[in-house]
Subunit: 213 residues, 2 copies
């Protein structure tokens, strides 16, 4: 029986990414059941999601089709509609996961190398992956659910900058530095501008942001 016939979605196979979307829909049904069977199902779902992220990374979200995802995950086509209510939901979760991974990666990188070395991370990082990320970010403007994730992403980045500079999360200096950072990053990803320029501008922006008012 396909669970999407009349209900939004059954299993709790998700990371804490789309909490707001379906919290509170008849919480009683999923009480004691679904424990053993779903171990494998959960794995399958994760495989599909990973495949979606990979495809997104390589070809933008136009590449994330049910068939492509299924093939990539070595699973039958119908598995995609079984574990995800629609393509939109698949995309949303892929976006959320991508954002989370990206934030973690960057956080670790900054902890190791410092903020000024960020341009070097740009050079190293997977450009097409970030292209997909930004693609989804802009696309998020057309979809309320995605918009929420996009907002969280920005907030995460701002917090990241603030933490690195040992500033409070709401400090406008961190906020402003992030805006510069974001554009430089986006321009690097889209236009592939020379790295030297980016490096220079970033240092300048940091000096600017950190000198006393």
């Amino acid at each position: 029986m396909n669970p999407h016939q009349h209900q939004p979605h059954p299993p709790a196979h998700h990371t804490a990414t789309q909490a707001g979307t379906q919290a509170g829909t008849q919480a009683g049904t999923q009480a004691g059941t679904q424990a053993g069977t779903q171990a494998r199902g959960r794995r399958r779902r994760a495989t599909l999601l990973a495949a979606a992220v990979a495809l997104l990374t390589e070809g933008g979200f136009a590449a994330v089709t049910h068939r492509a995802v299924a093939q990539r995950a070595h699973l039958p086509l119908a598995a995609t509609t079984y574990y995800f209510a629609s393509r939109d939901q698949l995309l949303a979760e892929a976006f959320a996961q991508l954002v989370e991974t990206e934030l973690d990666t960057t956080r670790a990188w900054i902890a190791d190398h410092g903020l000024t070395a960020l341009p070097d991370q740009l050079a190293t990082a997977d450009r097409t992956r970030q292209l997909g990320l930004w693609e989804l970010y802009v696309h998020a403007g057309r979809d309320p659910v995605l918009q929420q994730i996009a907002h969280r992403w920005t907030d995460g980045c701002i917090r990241l900058v603030a933490d690195t500079l040992h500033l409070p999360h709401t400090d406008p200096r961190a906020r402003l530095l992030y805006t510069t950072l974001a554009t430089l990053w986006l321009e690097h990803v889209v236009e592939q501008r020379p790295l030297d320029e980016t490096r220079t501008l970033l240092t300048l922006a940091m000096e600017n942001a950190l000198r006393p008012p």
Copy 2:
């Protein structure tokens, strides 16, 4: 006879936007001929382009299909493939035109209201239009031709900021201010963040950028 069968593209019905793509392809053939016939053709091409821009504006570039463009322009389907070698070319020219229009609009607005009032323009402006614009900007990262247009767009914006501040085009202060501006703009378009915050941040960024080093 369809001109796209074996040649890239025949008529010179284009604004000076994609100069690099087909300059120098047998310049002799289009000498004295094609002057009167093409008046109407040129108009049709422009109509199609306008339709493409409109669709882009409303539904992102997923909405720009041959059929949709043709219907919107009240022209037969085949006209789209006659005047544009492919959908990609249509998108590229639509992007170029959108960029040009947007730059002009913003220039005029700044001339009238000043740079600090830019957030108000954001509030007024057509959000979905700019969503389409940014969509194409990011998408440009995957296509060399579009990438070039994207680059020109950024340069145009930077120049715009520099001119407004009466700074030389290469002044890093203008460059940096633009980066902040761009992110605030993008965030407004995608995330619909509160306008007050944007206003405050912009003023802060301007003070920051303009005070002496």
